[in-house]
């Protein structure tokens, strides 16, 4: 029972991270109809900026966190404005390959600035495990779950209560009709990238104290986030959250009860199986 609780908590923690990344994929997919592979590097970049904010600038935790998130959001906007928009292409194949290319460049840039070494990022609050029913939980895990819920609440508020959020939903539901009523496409794309960047950056800041910080730490995390998004039904926000948490739980339970060597494989095998049985994902339309 204690083991099970332990696996449950670790699954929820990684699931929350996957959900954040999956939401980032969904936002861009809904407004532009493409898979944004740069999302992968937003995660690494978030951790890296946090590292510099803490150790090079000497900022405390909270300003560092905010700086990292807004920094990645700005980089994401730059990527959209100067990386994707000049292509002026409607061809999805071209746009998706562009994001692959931009991701390679951004990863190179991160490698050049922060180097190839593994680094350690301190957790948000000191590491004193909390005991719940015999299972020990790191405070960082609680932070991850708490901040993910905050981010999801903020996103919901943004998409249902603000004019910009409402117009983004309009674009997602029918791009042509949205253009006809005068919703500016450029601003919507820029905002969707900023949100995707902020979510990816937040995931990076939260997860790197648990894993380690490395220039390509985001690749595997990002791919699992993408898998989570597809598992839940690509483009659906509740689906992304469900897919993320489901994937996280599945992974920690299989690592605990089956084998930890193939922990990373389980996620993709299950994804392939789900796509085989229910190709649109769990909550896809």
């Amino acid at each position: 029972m204690t083991d099970f609780l332990q696996y449950l908590f670790s699954g929820l923690t990684s699931g929350a991270i996957y959900a954040l990344i999956a939401l980032g994929f969904c936002v861009v997919n809904n407004t532009m109809g493409i898979v944004n592979f740069v999302q992968v590097d937003f995660v690494s970049l978030g951790g890296m900026i946090m590292f510099s904010a803490l150790f090079a600038m000497g900022l405390p935790m909270l300003p560092g966190l905010l700086l990292a998130i807004s920094g990645v959001a700005i980089v994401a906007m730059v990527v959209e404005r100067f990386g994707l928009r000049p292509a002026r292409s409607d061809n999805h194949l071209v746009l998706i390959f562009l994001t692959v290319g931009l991701s390679i460049i951004l990863r190179g840039l991160i490698k050049l600035i922060w180097g190839k070494n593994r680094m350690a990022l301190p957790p948000l609050t000191p590491d004193v495990p909390i005991k719940i029913f015999g299972a020990s939980i790191l405070p960082q895990a609680l932070w991850i779950i708490f901040l993910t819920i905050v981010a999801i609440t903020l996103l919901t508020w943004f998409f249902y209560r603000t004019p910009l959020g409402l117009s983004m939903r309009a674009v997602a539901s029918n791009p042509t009709a949205a253009a006809v009523v005068g919703i500016p496409a450029g601003r919507i794309r820029l905002t969707s990238y900023a949100i995707a960047g902020a979510l990816g950056g937040l995931a990076g800041v939260l997860v790197t104290p648990i894993t380690t910080l490395n220039y390509d730490v985001g690749v595997l995390l990002g791919l699992k986030g993408f898998a989570a998004a597809i598992l839940g039904g690509f483009g659906s926000f509740p689906g992304a959250i469900l897919g993320g948490v489901g994937l996280g739980l599945l992974e920690s339970l299989s690592a605990g009860y089956l084998s930890s060597a193939y922990k990373d494989v389980v996620a993709f095998v299950v994804l392939l199986l789900v796509l085989f049985v229910r190709p649109k994902g769990l909550l896809g339309k």
Partner: protein, 332 residues
């Protein structure tokens, strides 16, 4: 028609056949002029990459789909041949065919459910497949040798004639590459290929014209996986050593870069793209440090300014310039 016009028309009519003949002749004679094993090793690597890229280009350019996991099929081919010939002592040629059949089955299993969907689920599924394959190659070390790789793979041979040096491998590899090239060139000019081009242009329109779009996509996916598997088998027998590092998702993205630079949907461009990306590290000293910038930068610039690919794009922009100039001259 004057004899000069007749001659030009003949060349125009048989341009594909003549180019293939020219290329074959050049490749046939190359080892006579260039016997440096290092250079031949490089051109052999181009040949192996070209086989993968030809298949991938059919899939990306003609079926309009994304595969970011062709290194998985490449790796399955390489390791399949290695395990079949060394562990199970199956002769290399039948092993190659057997492995290709298994890879075709894997591609079919992945392709059938996912190609039913519109959108870009296949990008994810192939990425996932590549990841799974790479992890298994790394972790299952009793069978695959794990991170240290798999060595002692025999050379291919006909009777007593072994393909064991660069010159012999040159003829073998380029022979297979030319065969694949011919296959692709003929395929895209056949009814199936025309249907595929229609599919890449507009899926609904193609379906309305009677193209069985789902089947066509699955078939071309399996064909491209088989080509990648064959290239992988050749790779294993050519170097007699394979390691998981050659089959990561980054290898897959490199292959996509080759396709895009050569031009999506351009068969000849595949050869060019494979050659350029394989040779690039040889020309640039600083390549290792700035590899990401160069690869990513080339990909982004080509997609932004010449989305039809480097060669096709440049040729077309020159054609447009000439046509504009001709019209200007005619009007004055």
């Amino acid at each position: 028609m004057t004899s000069k016009q007749k001659f030009l028309y003949f060349i125009y009519l048989h341009r594909t056949g003549l180019t293939v003949t020219g290329l074959s002749l050049a490749l046939l004679l190359l080892p006579l002029f260039e016997d440096n094993p290092y250079t031949l090793g490089l051109t052999n690597l181009i040949a192996i990459n070209a086989i993968v890229v030809l298949g991938l280009n059919l899939f990306i350019g003609y079926a309009g789909q994304i595969s970011l996991g062709h290194a998985a099929f490449f790796g399955l081919g390489a390791y399949g041949s290695a395990i079949a010939t060394v562990t199970y002592e199956i002769p290399p040629w039948p092993a190659m065919i057997l492995v290709a059949a298994i890879v075709a089955l894997v591609a079919l299993l992945v392709g059938i459910p996912i190609l039913r969907l519109s959108g870009h689920y296949l990008a994810m599924a192939t990425l996932g497949l590549n990841f799974v394959v790479h992890t298994i190659l790394l972790q299952w070390d009793d069978v695959t040798g794990g991170p240290s790789g798999f060595s002692g793979i025999p050379y291919l041979s006909f009777g007593n004639f072994e393909f064991d040096d660069e010159v012999r491998l040159h003829y073998l590899l380029w022979g297979v590459t030319l065969l694949s090239l011919l296959l692709c060139l003929n395929l895209v000019r056949s009814g199936v290929g025309r249907g595929l081009s229609a599919l890449a242009g507009d899926e609904i329109a193609a379906a309305a014209l009677g193209v069985n779009t789902r089947n066509a996509k699955i078939k071309i996916f399996v064909l491209s996986a088989v080509l990648a598997s064959l290239a992988g088998s050749l790779f294993a027998h050519c170097y007699s050593f394979v390691s998981p590092d050659s089959f990561t998702i980054f290898t897959s993205t490199d292959m996509v870069i080759m396709v895009v630079i050569g031009g999506m949907g351009s068969i000849w461009g595949s050869l060019f793209g494979a050659a350029l990306i394989t040779l690039l590290p040889e020309w640039l000293d600083l390549f290792e440090t700035y590899k990401d910038f160069i690869h990513g930068g080339i990909l982004v610039l080509v997609l932004m300014f010449l989305p039809q690919g480097l060669v096709t794009g440049l040729v077309e922009s020159i054609k447009i310039k000439l046509a504009l100039r001709r019209r200007k001259n005619a009007s004055t």
